[in-house]
């Protein structure tokens, strides 16, 4: 089914909760996702949906009071959730590396970028000093940074945002990882600079075959860059599949609503599509589906049954929505409904009111 290689990272039923005095915050709740070798996977969702927690969970960077309470993350057959700190440290940088939204806050202002890249090489490889510097120049050149030998002597503040992000990518690629986790790497950049970085990452991906998990809130970036995508809502990857398929025919009502809300400069018309209401409190998730309160297609059963992953188009297009009850459930699902549900139950609510009409609905927006 997939044009890319073998599975590289297999996330299965992962849940990460943060224990607080007033109860557990379910930042991630039963999520499954497979990343194949050389694939670019986009993770989209609004703020607080768990995108960054997902990346941190993969990297083993969840700290107290957070805890991975369930599930497994297999990377080339090893379950990352069972590795020791030392084993994880070896894996990070060598096999899996991370780039962030704010490049300058992840570079040390007191050292030249050359020092910082060679440090990574020193920690993770057996290279001699001369080799390390040669590799550094090579990396800076790969990232289209002009006159690498001079620029390696520069400090982070001497780089613009776009250039600093290139340095971070160079550092992340230093040990030729197989998997790059990118947390909104272009969100802080202007669109013309973002275009440069997008082009570059795509070229690198072609050239080096590195798989990328790309967290973003920008549907445009996903549409133009990613092969597959996961859509997150309230700690759940509610839909996962091929980018073209999902954009053409979203199978989860949230995906559909989210795609509609994104204003595109190619659209005419002067209204914005909205999703009424606001996401649920992660400390107090409703029984049943997390999206039921805002879902235009919600049924009676949605308030009682937590939907499992249904295979909505082969085994690599999954949606957590009871509308697809009757389709095979994905083996990773830990929360199969106890009883059979019939699809043709009557919706329990009317069409959502169009925007601009009632005040009450919109007043629900935002957590209080």
């Amino acid at each position: 089914m997939n044009a890319h290689g073998d599975p590289l990272l297999d996330i299965d039923g992962i849940s990460t909760h943060f224990q607080t005095a007033s109860g557990a915050v379910k930042a991630l709740d039963d999520n499954s996702l497979t990343v194949h070798e050389g694939e670019i996977v986009g993770i989209v969702g609004e703020s607080g949906s768990g995108k960054s927690t997902l990346l941190r969970t993969i990297m083993g960077l969840i700290e107290e009071p957070g805890e991975v309470v369930n599930g497994s993350i297999e990377y080339r057959g090893r379950d990352l959730t069972t590795l020791s700190d030392e084993e994880l440290r070896q894996l990070r940088g060598n096999d899996i590396s991370l780039i962030f939204q704010e490049p300058t806050s992840h570079l040390n202002p007191a050292y030249t970028v050359g020092d910082q890249i060679t440090d990574v090489l020193k920690a993770h490889t057996e290279m001699e000093e001369v080799e390390r510097w040669e590799r550094t120049y090579e990396l800076l050149d790969l990232l289209d940074i002009p006159s690498p030998e001079d620029r390696a002597e520069s400090y982070p503040h001497e780089f613009s945002g776009g250039m600093a992000q290139r340095v971070c990518i160079a550092m992340a690629l230093a040990c030729q990882p197989d998997l790059l986790l990118a947390d909104e790497p272009t969100s802080a950049l202007d669109v013309t600079i973002q275009a440069q970085i997008l082009d570059l990452l795509q070229e690198l991906q072609d050239e080096l075959g590195v798989a990328i998990v790309w967290v973003t809130h920008d549907m445009g970036v996903v549409a133009e860059t990613c092969d597959t995508m996961g859509v997150m809502y309230a700690g759940n990857i509610v839909e996962y599949g091929d980018v073209d398929d999902i954009f053409a025919e979203p199978k989860h009502p949230y995906t559909e609503a989210l795609l509609d809300t994104v204003p595109s400069h190619t659209d005419e018309g002067d209204r914005f599509d909205t999703i009424e209401g606001s996401p649920p409190d992660l400390q107090n998730l409703p029984q049943g589906c997390v999206f039921q309160e805002r879902c235009p297609k919600a049924m009676e059963s949605c308030s009682t049954h937590r939907p499992p992953y249904y295979e909505v188009g082969g085994d690599d297009w999954l949606a957590k929505c009871l509308l697809h009850d009757g389709q095979p459930t994905h083996p990773s699902s830990t929360s199969a409904p106890e009883t059979d549900l019939s699809i043709d139950e009557a919706p329990n609510r009317d069409e959502t009111t169009s925007d601009g009409g009632t005040v009450v609905d919109e007043a629900l927006e935002g957590k209080r």
């Binding site: 669109v191 275009a195 204003p263 595109s264 005419e268 599509d273 909205t274 919109e362």
Partner: protein, 322 residues
């Protein structure tokens, strides 16, 4: 009728001041805005778009004399804007910003904050102030029962609604919104922008919107100005410019902006380099020339200005090749 007319507006910030200037003899300036023209009709929505540092916020701040412009003429309702008292101007032109955290007093309930604006500008007699506060909150989609809450009790989207209510409280004829929804999620953005457009119509407001988001600019505006390094490089009807961009910068900007539709296969025009610092840039020639894929020798020497494209004054371009 033209509400706001701006001609040759220029704003430079001195970089070397006082002691340092005496010491070094240097006199450098940040040329944030370099002689721009635009006009906003009554009830019209005009958007300034551009990337960070292009001068879009400075342009509107100096047009409204929140910062004194270095040069240029601005008329508001046909009178020189400098002839307005500060109070009078604030009652005519209101501003909302990106981060409402900074503009709402954390110690004051939101109802009091709105009432204060109404009282200061004597919009309605004292006995009708409460009624007006409730009405405004209702219109922006906040339950009037919540007016005794402090700003901290509200989400980012709700604070922005409250800021809109407070801006409308004084019955202005112009609302300036500087990236008002940039920090918010798309679904919340959409709710607020729809509401803003409804209110604009209800109140007969002119709107000046400042944003880097081209998707929002397209939907919200009647007219846009595309800014690059302190100049408006393309100006006119929004649909015309988005469908038929003429300036090489506008073309690159539109092509660089990702479209949320994977079935469209587009070629991005990727510009080399980044926007230079607007410090002591050449007075003559096109500021975009160093990054422009079409630039020639002539571009660095010719005098420029917005000219109607193919004789159509609703679409103006600042490029010698158009």
């Amino acid at each position: 009728m033209t509400l706001l007319e701006v001609n040759g507006l220029t704003k430079h910030f001195p970089l070397d001041t006082g002691f340092l200037m005496n010491l070094t003899g240097r006199d450098r300036k940040v040329q944030a805005v370099n002689g721009i023209d635009f006009a906003v009709e009554e009830g019209e929505a005009f958007t300034l778009v551009g990337e960070s540092g292009c001068g879009k916020s400075t342009a509107i701040m100096s047009a409204l004399h929140h910062q004194t412009p270095t040069a240029g003429e601005v008329t508001f309702k046909g009178h020189d804007i400098a002839s307005y008292s500060k109070k009078k101007l604030r009652s005519e032109a209101q501003l909302i910003y990106q981060d409402q955290q900074d503009t709402l007093n954390p110690k004051m309930s939101v109802g009091e904050a709105i009432a204060e604006a109404i009282r200061f500008h004597d919009v309605v007699p004292e006995e009708r102030v409460d009624e007006r506060v409730d009405d405004l909150l209702n219109r922006v989609g906040i339950a009037p029962g919540d007016k005794r809450q402090k700003p901290s009790a509200f989400s980012g989207g709700q604070k922005q609604r409250i800021a809109i209510a407070r801006a409308l409280a004084v019955d202005p004829s112009l609302l300036v919104a500087d990236e008002p929804v940039s920090g918010l999620d798309v679904s919340v953005q959409a709710q607020i922008l729809n509401r803003l457009m409804d209110l604009q119509e209800e109140f007969g407001l002119a709107l000046v919107y400042v944003t880097h988001n081209l998707g929002i600019a397209r939907k919200i505006s009647d007219k846009i100005g595309v800014m690059y390094l302190g100049n408006i490089v393309e100006y006119g009807d929004v649909d015309e410019i988005f469908q038929n961009p003429q300036h090489p910068y506008t073309q690159a900007l539109l092509s660089a902006n990702p479209v949320p539709d994977p079935s469209i296969d587009r070629d991005r025009i990727v510009l080399e380099g980044s926007i230079p610092d607007p410090i002591d840039i050449d007075e003559v020639g096109c500021h975009f020339a160093p990054r422009c894929p079409e630039a020639s020798e002539e571009c660095t020497t010719s005098e420029m200005g917005l000219e109607p494209f193919e004789g159509d004054s609703s679409h103006q371009v600042d490029c010698i090749y158009r």
